[in-house]
Each structure stands twice: as structure tokens, then as C-alpha cells.
Amino acid sequence: MENIPAVANNVTQINSAEFVKLTIFNDVSNTANVNVYTFSSSYKSETIGNTTYTPLGGLLAVGAQNRDIRVTSGDTTIALSGVSGNNIFVVLDSKIRGSTVEVLRGFYDANMVLSNTVSRFTGIVTNYGISEDREMLDDNFTVTISASSYKTVLENRIAGRKTNKESWRYFNSSDASMDNVYAISGVQFDFGQDPKSKTVVPGGGGGGGPGRGFEGDEFDR
């Protein structure tokens, strides 16, 4: 379990900064082909785990993150400056959605030297937004990245295959395991007796008879 010494010692002051790492995958088939962008709210560049977090990236704010004991779905937002930086270019010109986001919090000692870091959030970018706030002669741009935790991503993931001939042979054209599904679909089996003829599957709302489920079922891998 992660420990946060600066807080655990019951000090009355903590010095902390946030570090954000954005890993953009340029090629689905090549996970090494990535662009990594780092941002921090610290006063200088810090190297954490071989990654240098620059303070010049334009980090404006990091949204709230859940810190539940059990695994829960949590989203967060990261606001970046869109003024005189390349952040607008990053979100528009790269495959930002699906990128990995990691948020760390770093703790500084009294001499403002980084002493500890803890992970706060790991997830995937699900959306981004660019907003312009113009009032009279003040014109500002903000890039907002929305990120979801991995649990949310898994909840929305549909995977697996249907228990019919086509779906089964999609992965292995010689797999005949489900070839007879159509023949037995709709047939009632009273065990110990001869099978009855096919029955007509009732329309929607019928709750599905025992012979109906094969084609409609999906399951997670």
C-alpha cells in the first residue's frame, strides 16, 4: 500500500506539486511508437522514474480523483494552457483519445527538494476539448483532457464471440464446434426422452426460452 510520509507524520504543512504524464500511441501495432508529454506544477524540471517532468508544459489544473479502497470507476480532467504552447497541436494532430494518463503527486521538503512521489491516477484519455474565453481584449484558450480509469474502460469493453458457426470460424476456419448450433436451436430437450420438434421462439419480451440463448449470448474473454 502506498504511503504518504509527509501527511502520515501529521505535519501542519505539506509542499506538493502534481506531475502529469501523457503517453500517446501513434501506431496500434507498435506500442513503442509513442509520444510522451509531461507537465507539472512544480517550479523546475523533475526526473521521476526516468521521466523528466517539465514545468513549462502549461499545466493549469488537475481535477478531483477518487481514492476509494475498493476498485471504483473514476474520471478526472486535466486542464492545459492553450496559449502560446503546442498543446492545441498535440490534441488535434495526434491520436489523443486512448492515450495513457498518469498523475503523480510529489512532496517537497522544507528546502523545496523533491522527496517523495505517489501515484494518484492512471487511466485513458476519453475525450478532449478546446475552449476559447474571450472578453474584450482578453483572449485565452484552454485545452481540457478527460480521462477515465481503467475500470471504466473495461466496463465499456465488449469482447468475446457468439456461439454460432460464423463467429466461431472467424478465428479458426476449421473449427466445427458450433456448426450444429443452427440445427439444435429451438429444440427442447427433456432429458431421458426423445427431443421435441422445434418451437417458435416468441417475440421480444418473452424472456427467452431455453433454446434461444445460444445466438444471443456474449461473454467476456
Binding site: 501542519t12 504543512q13 505539506i14 509542499n15 506538493s16 506539486a17 506544477s41 512544480s42 517550479y43 523546475k44 524540471s45 514545468p55 513549462l56 517537497y108 521538503d109 528546502n111 523545496m112 527538494v113
Partner: protein, 232 residues
């Protein structure tokens, strides 16, 4: 130099804001808890200009301000005789001794200077008093000394605390010389650059001709903000 330097030189009053980014909560049992974001802690000056500047004499000033606008930084200092007393060096070093000191380490808020022996700085010498201004090399981002710094016996180095952490790169501070006192440079811009109003008056005669003139009244105080993004 016109522009922000002239604004500083002719300031009616100067408000200095060096407050840090802090979160503050007082618990139910009235114990305060604070959090600090370690920023570059930029200097912020709010300068009030006296409404006495004449249009004829300061057209170059307003043109410089219009050129700088709200987004251009300018290097300024407080060496003008009108304001040099503000950051007067309080230590006892001569200029030659200051020139002999170099930065050997600058980690967080701990600044170490070396070269004391060669510079003839002996035991017990007070190098700095609290609030003395120090510039590292040619970087226009002054730091202030947090407390009195006295040389220990036989030491060739001295380490002391400054008001904000080091955000200069290694190459920018390592073995760099230092500048102290009012000659330290600030890199400032004016995000609220006031507009100005001309109030007719102060007419004068020039070669027998009556020349119309005006006083310049600025719409607001000048809020000068340190351009710390240039340091990397």
C-alpha cells in the same frame, strides 16, 4: 531607458507582493493546516504613478509602454538614484570581493557560494543580511537572502537560504558570478498595462509660441509581474 524602467524610476509608491501559492484550512479545533505549491514564486510589483508627468516630456514613455503592451517583458533594475536605496546591499563586501564569488551549488533554497579565501573574505565577515538581493550570473531573476550570512572559520564556501527555490538550469548557475544590491536585474512585464488620459494643462511658451500641453493620468496602477517562464 523608457518603458517599465522609467515607471520604476518615477514611481509614486511601490507595492511588493512575493506571496506564495498556499492552501489554508483551520480545523474544527482551530489548528491551522497549510499546503504550499512549490512555484517559481515570481515577483509582483504594483506601482502607483503620480499624475504629474507632462505629455510633452513623456511621449517617448507612452510610446514605449504602448509597444510593450501587456505581453512584452523588459529587463529593469532599481539602480536609479531615486530608487537605489530600496535594495541597498547590506553586507560588508567590496565590489572586488563580490566579483570573486561564484556559485558552486544551488539546490532547492540552499545557495552555496565559493571563492571566499581567494577573495580575502575572513572569518566572521557578514556577507549578507536578510532581504539582500542576489542575482546569479546574467539571469535576471533575483533571489533574496533569508537571514544573516556570516563566514565560518577557515571556510572557502558559505551556504545560506534564499527566499525561493532554484529554477535555473545547472549550466545557468554553476560557477556563475553574482550581483548584489540594486544592480540586480528583474525581468518584468505588465499584464494590466494601464491606458492613459490626457488632462489639458501645463501650457508653456516655446520660442514665443504658446504650446498646449497636458498631464498624463494612467487608468490604473502598473502591476509588474516577473517573466519567470524564460528561465529554464
Amino acid at each position: 531607458m523608457a518603458g517599465l524602467q522609467e515607471i520604476i524610476n518615477k514611481a509614486g509608491s511601490i507595492n511588493i507582493d512575493r506571496r506564495k501559492v498556499v492552501g489554508l484550512q483551520v480545523t474544527r479545533n482551530e489548528i491551522p493546516r497549510t499546503s504550499l505549491t512549490p512555484t517559481r514564486n515570481p515577483w509582483r510589483f504594483t506601482i502607483e504613478m503620480p499624475p504629474v508627468l507632462s505629455w510633452w516630456d513623456h511621449r517617448n514613455l507612452v510610446e514605449a509602454l504602448d509597444t510593450l503592451d501587456r505581453y512584452s517583458p523588459q529587463i529593469v533594475n532599481f539602480s536609479n538614484s531615486c530608487v537605489s536605496w530600496i535594495w541597498r546591499y547590506q553586507g560588508v563586501l567590496t565590489q572586488n570581493q563580490v566579483n570573486g564569488l561564484t556559485v558552486s551549488s544551488f539546490n532547492g533554497t540552499q545557495l552555496t557560494l565559493s571563492g571566499l579565501v581567494a577573495a580575502g573574505i575572513t572569518n566572521g565577515t557578514t556577507l549578507f543580511l536578510a532581504n539582500d538581493l542576489i542575482q546569479i550570473g546574467a539571469n535576471p531573476y533575483p533571489f533574496t537572502v533569508a537571514s544573516t550570512s556570516v563566514v565560518a572559520t577557515g571556510s572557502n564556501t558559505i551556504t545560506f537560504t534564499v527566499n525561493r527555490p532554484n529554477f535555473l538550469s545547472f549550466g545557468a548557475y554553476n560557477n556563475a558570478s553574482i550581483t548584489v544590491g540594486p544592480n540586480c536585474n528583474f525581468y518584468l512585464f505588465c499584464p494590466n498595462m494601464p491606458i492613459y488620459k490626457l488632462v489639458p494643462g501645463n501650457q508653456f511658451s516655446f520660442q514665443g509660441v504658446l504650446i498646449n500641453n497636458a498631464r498624463i493620468e494612467f487608468s490604473d496602477n502598473f502591476t509588474l509581474y516577473e517573466w519567470v517562464g524564460g528561465a529554464a
